[in-house]
Structure formats: structure tokens, C-alpha cells
Symmetry: C2
Amino acid sequence: MMTLDLDPETDLSFTRLLAVPRALVWECWTRPEHIPHFFIPAPNKVTAVDLDLRVGGRFNTVFDVDGQQMDNRGVYLEVVSQERLVFTDAYTEGWKPVPEPFMTAILLLSDAPEGGTTYTAIARHRTPETRKAHADMGFFEGWGTVATQLESYAKGLIR
Amino acid sequence: MMTLDLDPETDLSFTRLLAVPRALVWECWTRPEHIPHFFIPAPNKVTAVDLDLRVGGRFNTVFDVDGQQMDNRGVYLEVVSQERLVFTDAYTEGWKPVPEPFMTAILLLSDAPEGGTTYTAIARHRTPETRKAHADMGFFEGWGTVATQLESYAKGLIR
């Protein structure tokens, strides 16, 4: 495992137990056909997904939020199958730095009892101000809803 | 090869031919015992090197510049043996974002005729202002001197 000292000044995180296996959680997070089914809280929609799942590869999505198109661009920083996915809006593809990055997200998956998954989501920020802005935007409710949607969608994939 | 569209507004780069094989150039850039021999223009010195050569691993150095200690911390973003090394001061280990990153560096190596190396160094910046500051600090002279020192040191390693 990576060394990861969370910083309460700049990080936001939570851990949930999901009643689906982590191979499936990983698949949902890393395949474009699954992303629209859970990736932002309904009734908002993911209307496009363009990803290249490798270190430095693009992780681009378009959201429809109240009829407004939101263009989200980023890259994967670390891809460790079924264990850890790290991505950020601090770069676009080709390691082009963005003037004002918002966050770096770390998703950690591990086995939980009875075939479930321990799901940890971490958002790291450059400054305490950015962390607070993210918290005020509803990090916990938003990412919590995403986890709930993910679990529900993934259950439907189990045959 | 990666897709890499250089942006004249925010990037600085140059390409040099070095009369040493790229396996050796790679070794010099990635082993702590070699770094002090070329990594900053003399008479300034590298007084400490602490690296963990993997994606997300630390690339920390200490410089002695006119008797002042300069602490440089960063991480590797991409490590493709003998081909491409990408690192930045935008993170410290564990993907902790830095409030005001300066640059992201990309080193590209390829074979040149007669056993030499085509050596491309790219510094990408968040803004045109940061690019200009880096140019004014002497990017071309500094990194050019580093390339010359590297070639000279690496030649001495050939038996």
C-alpha cells in the first residue's frame, strides 16, 4: 500500500462498505459504458465519457447539470487494478498543467467480509480554502450519493 | 510515443544530441549516486538525493546554491525505462497537491546515430507568466549546462 498521511486541513475523505465485490466496483469505475450509471448524483447526467485508462491517460467527462453542459477534463495519475485509482483535473493529456487545479481524487478498494468492498474516496486539495469550497459544494453528500448509486448499479450487474 | 502538443505560451523545451548511449543517460537520471554529478550547474551542488523511482514516488533533492540550502520536493509522474521520465513539484509523495506548483518536466530519450542519444527536455508550466519566469531564470542556459555536464560525466562511466 502507498504511504498516505491524510491532512485534515486540505483533504476530504470517507469510507463505505459496499455489498458488491471489488472487481465489479473497479470495472464500474474504469469502463466508459458504466460511468454514466452512477458517476454524478441523479437527476444530473453524464452525457459523454472519453477515457484512456493508463498513467497520464485522459479521464474526460461531460455532465448535464440542470441543462448546462459541464466539461470535465483530467488524467489518471495511478492505475492499480482493483486496488487504487488516482486522477486529477491538474493536468490534461500529455501532462499539460492546468492553471488552477481543483482536486486530486484517490479511490482505494479492498476486500470486505461477505464478498463486499471497503470503498475509500479521498479528495486532496492544494489549499484549505479549496478544501472548504469542496466541502461547501457538498462533497460528502455528492460522493456519498455516487457510492450509493454505484452499489445499486453494480448489484444489477451480478448474475 | 505519447501525444504531446507543445504549447509555445506555456512550455519551454530543447533537444540535444549526446554522445553517450541512452541506457547510460537513463541510469544517470534515475540513480541517486549519479544525480549529484550533473543535476545542477556547477559550482552549485546537489547535497542530498532521496528518490523512489515509480509513479507517484518521491524525487527529492537538496541543492547548495551559494551556501544556501534549497529543498526541492516532487514526485515522478511517469517512468518508462530509457524512454521517458516525467516529474513535477506539483505533488509531494502520496499525491499531496502543492499550493503553487512551478513546473512539470518531461525528459524524452531516443537513439541517435553512432550510439548517441537524442535528448529532449521539456518544462511545462501552468501559465505564460510562470513560463516567462522560468525562461528569465535561465532555463536554456541552466538545463543546457546540465545536459553538457551529464554527457561529460556519462562518458567517464563508459569502460
